[in-house]
């Protein structure tokens, strides 16, 4: 996807499409008083989605961080979650693989269905869930082990390989899919922490892929990397789409525009608008979305 400059964006939405304009602006001002029954503009609900979330609220102790979010994620799509800092994108992402369970005063309510299975039910094992829904973090966090052992960690844990050669195969395939194998094939026994930032992140992606998840969650995966490494990661995401469903949180609108098919705009813990990426960036339907895109804040 080509980069849309802010200038082009600001020109292209002169003409607002329909009469919802006034309602939306009114909504925008009275928004802060609504905590439930928030209406999201756009296609946040799908049929036969991979991941279905409805009426999600997240609380840290007394403070509420996510307000009544409903969003579906389609099979094999890349959906970008954008929005200003601290508006809940990462928090929402972490509900999808129950990483918020590790935070003691965090409370999550709502319905979460992965392939029509309730992931927060007592019957769903978080360990199993996380084997199906993987996560790549903002700062690369390879383990203090060799490159091989980093990638082999997940498969070993879950017992995915019965023989050593099977394990080798998994490791090599994962590294290849992450686009890292060529660079490290001669030094698989060296520590993972000895790689460059971009390589480390690809290692983390390889590590995540090795478990063969169905969904990969990425929390600003390239924000700690230089532009060249970022470009490599973005290309990778595009290739991974073939086999995985990906939800990516990003601060960079350009990145969202480059890698995703759908985009959801988060604002102060609510989803304001969801839609096809090209539409969001050229023709946002909500005033807040437009403000963000044009750089009025965030």
């Amino acid at each position: 996807m080509s980069t849309n400059t802010t200038a082009t964006l600001s020109q292209s939405f002169r003409a607002k499409p329909n009469s919802m304009q006034e309602d939306i602006t009114n909504d925008a001002t009275s928004e802060s008083s609504e905590h439930s029954q928030h209406i999201t503009i756009g296609e946040n609900i799908l049929e036969n989605a991979k991941f279905t979330t409805r009426n999600v609220n997240v609380y840290y102790g007394e403070k509420q961080a996510i307000f009544d979010v409903s969003l579906d994620i389609d099979h094999n799509e890349v959906i970008a979650l954008i929005g200003p800092s601290g508006c809940g994108k990462s928090t929402y992402l972490r509900t999808l693989n129950r990483m918020n369970d590790t935070i003691s005063n965090c409370r999550v309510t709502g319905d979460f269905l992965l392939d029509n299975e309730d992931i927060y039910s007592k019957k769903m094992d978080p360990v199993l869930l996380r084997a199906r829904v993987g996560m790549v973090f903002q700062k690369p966090n390879p383990f203090p082990k060799s490159i091989y052992d980093n990638v082999a960690y997940g498969p070993r844990l879950h017992g995915l390989a019965r023989t050593n050669s099977e394990l080798d195969e998994i490791v090599i395939t994962s590294l290849e899919k992450a686009g890292l194998f060529k660079e490290v094939k001669d030094r698989l026994n060296e520590p993972g922490t000895g790689l460059s930032g971009g390589q480390q992140q690809r290692l983390c992606i390889a590590r995540t892929i090795a478990v063969s998840p169905e969904v990969i969650l990425m929390d600003e995966p390239a924000s700690a990397l230089d532009p060249i490494a970022t470009a490599i990661i973005e290309e990778l995401i595009d290739e991974l789409r073939e086999n995985f469903t990906i939800a990516i949180v990003t601060h960079s609108m350009q990145q969202a525009a480059r890698v995703s098919q759908r985009t959801a705009y988060f604002h102060l813990g609510k989803i304001i608008e969801v839609g096809e990426t090209s539409q969001i960036f050229t023709n946002p339907r909500h005033q807040l979305t437009e403000n963000y895109i044009t750089g009025k804040f965030g």
């Binding site: 360990v127 084997a131 199906r132 844990l157 879950h158 017992g159 995915l160």
Partner: protein, 425 residues
Amino acid sequence: MNNTDIVKHGLKKRYAKEKRFQWYGRLAVLTGFVFLTLLLLDIIIKAMPAFQSTQILLDIPLDRETLELSTDATINKDTLSAINYDGLIKKSLSQLYPQVSKRNDRKQLYKLVSSGAEFSLREYIMKNPELISSNSEIPVLSIWLKADDDIDTFYKLQTKISRVSDRQVEFIDSLIQQQRIRTSFNTTFFTASDSREPEQAGIKGALLGSFWTLLVTLLISLPVGIGAAVYLEEFAPQNKITDFIEININNLAAVPSIVFGLLGLSVFINFFGMPRSVPLVGGLVLSLMTLPTIIISSRAAIKSVPPSIKEAALGIGASHMQTVFHHVLPLAMPGILTGTIIGMAQALGETAPLLMIGMVAFIVDVPGGVVDSATVLPVQIYLWSDSPERAFTALTAATILVLLAFLAIMNTLAIFLRKHFERRW
């Protein structure tokens, strides 16, 4: 999806491992608790007997004839101290059991009472000389005197011990019937200093010795410690010498305490010729040991004062030194004092280095200053724990409780200081 099945298959075992691991952790913490509780309970139980001492009620005849004083002799200090109090005690015991005739039996009778009882009696009479009257009525003083430590142990623990003969057991039974034997709070423990007889032994000497020693330690280590901390934090240039000093301090904090004792022995006693077993030398050695603790905690306290305070002072035109002494140091004081109290608590419990500088002697006098021979509480504990008499075991345990009580007070004080006065910037 068969991956999911594979994962499901292994989950049961993995969760079992998880549970076991948590239990190991709990067990480990509990073991620590259990040891601590066992230790404290054991000492408390052992110490109980020491707080009570057995006494026997005797009627001492105080007529002049018995006292071997002529009717017109003046009653003054000299005449009073010349009286044979031991004889008086023996006489009153004989009067209690006039039927006792055999020499051996009489010896056993006399041994019921502590050898130090005569001194207690004398002290009492000298305080109350009016008890000796000169009229014809025979005055009798009924006084509770200490029993011998073997009797004391036997009576308190109610178990037969070999040092108490059967005859003595008979005597004791009869005393019980006559209600002439009782236990009461053992004040001697706090008012007397060391003695060969456990029923006369107390910790007064050790308490004062610890006091003088800690005083010396405090007076030396606090100023030097603060001075060093201030220098290292504020004034020292970043060069090899400063690094070397810091390395030294960190190493000294981990040197075994006995090595400091060797230092004290060879440098202070041998080279400088200072006297052995005095609080001055003990305090010197302990202050060298406490110095690293005080320096390290003072540095942390000074470091935590925010630079904005220093910048504000410098901005008004104060010199670096004035800034440090007028602003930084007062603000860092709570942290410094906390570290000092903790250091003093450690010093209070130290034994090995003081053994090296000679504080192993049997010292009966109470030290009046820093150059009098003295012992300290932990050394007293060490010395007494070697004695075979059971009564000394109880005394040792009781002394331990006193020591622990002091430590508890000091540490609570430090925590209190920290909570209420340390500012969180």
